[in-house]
């Protein structure tokens, strides 16, 4: 513990050159925190509004279809896909696989490409076919 024993610590974030694997690693944490706080709050709001009757649900859909609400929902869906794909990558790495530098980097890039493509496809479908 740094407070009681001021031994030298690794200067981790400030010294390394950034790469896709580092980006995906910190994105996993950021998207996880976002889904935990904002995502679960939205899910709970949605369910309580559904249970609360027409007025409560109208207030929810009004907020959700407002530009700010839409941005939050689009960001949450991207966070969901990024955390899901990155989570699958982590489960594979938990078995000891995919630690070779090029493989590791390739799968890191794939999670980013995948989450952006899935988010774009989801919202293209929703905005086109689900008025």
């Amino acid at each position: 513990m740094a407070a009681t024993n001021p031994r030298p610590l690794s200067p981790h974030l400030t010294i390394w050159r950034w790469g896709p694997h580092m980006l995906v690693s910190i994105l996993h944490r950021v998207t996880g925190a976002g889904l935990s706080i904002v995502g679960l709050a939205m899910l709970t709001w949605w369910l309580t509004a559904l249970a609360g009757g027409t007025d409560a649900y109208t207030a929810f859909t009004k907020a959700a279809s407002h530009p700010v609400g839409l941005i939050v929902l689009i960001a949450l869906s991207w966070a969901f896909f990024q955390h899901l794909l990155s989570g699958i990558r982590h489960l594979a790495m938990d078995t000891g696989a995919a630690f070779e530098l090029d493989t590791n980097k390739r799968f890191a890039i794939l999670t980013i490409v995948g989450s952006v493509v899935l988010t774009a496809a989801l919202w293209a479908y929703i905005l086109e076919y689900r008025p």
Binding site: A3, G32, L47, T48, L50, T54, Y57, F80, D94, Y125
Partner: protein, 131 residues
């Protein structure tokens, strides 16, 4: 956990990490992540394939056991996974023991309180009267 009395090298070091525990927490996080892989995909697919996203349709979807049961599992597993993940973040960044205890307690209360609220709303939808 064995402490010194073990004859094997693994047995002698097991449980001697800085936290002396955490294997179960780590494994639970993985198991809930696999469950959420299924339940999260179910939620997105359901929202995509429902005939409409108006209140009546979503209400009827969650009234049926085929909607209510996966949603209940999603709430419980989602809040548990969020709590486990947020604890990792807190333990990484909040070193002072008192602050660490306070943050982890706050997270626990938020997760159990939020989960209970979401489950209660779902119960009103699934077991209550009309919309």
């Amino acid at each position: 956990m064995s402490r010194g009395e073990s004859a094997t090298p693994l047995g002698r070091v097991r449980g001697l990490g800085s936290a002396h525990e955490g294997g179960e927490h780590w494994l639970t996080e993985r198991v809930t992540s696999i469950a959420l892989l299924l339940l999260g995909t179910w939620l997105v697919a359901s929202l995509l394939f429902l005939p409409s996203l108006d209140q009546r349709t979503i209400f009827e979807w969650l009234r049926a056991p085929s909607g209510a049961v996966p949603m209940a599992l999603l709430i419980v597993t989602g809040f548990k996974h969020a709590l486990d993940g947020m604890k990792v973040i807190v333990d990484d960044y909040v070193h002072q023991p008192g602050n660490n205890f306070a943050m982890n307690s706050l997270l626990l209360f938020l997760a159990i309180g939020g989960g209970a609220l979401a489950l209660f709303a779902l119960a009103r939808i699934a077991l209550g009267g009309g919309a």
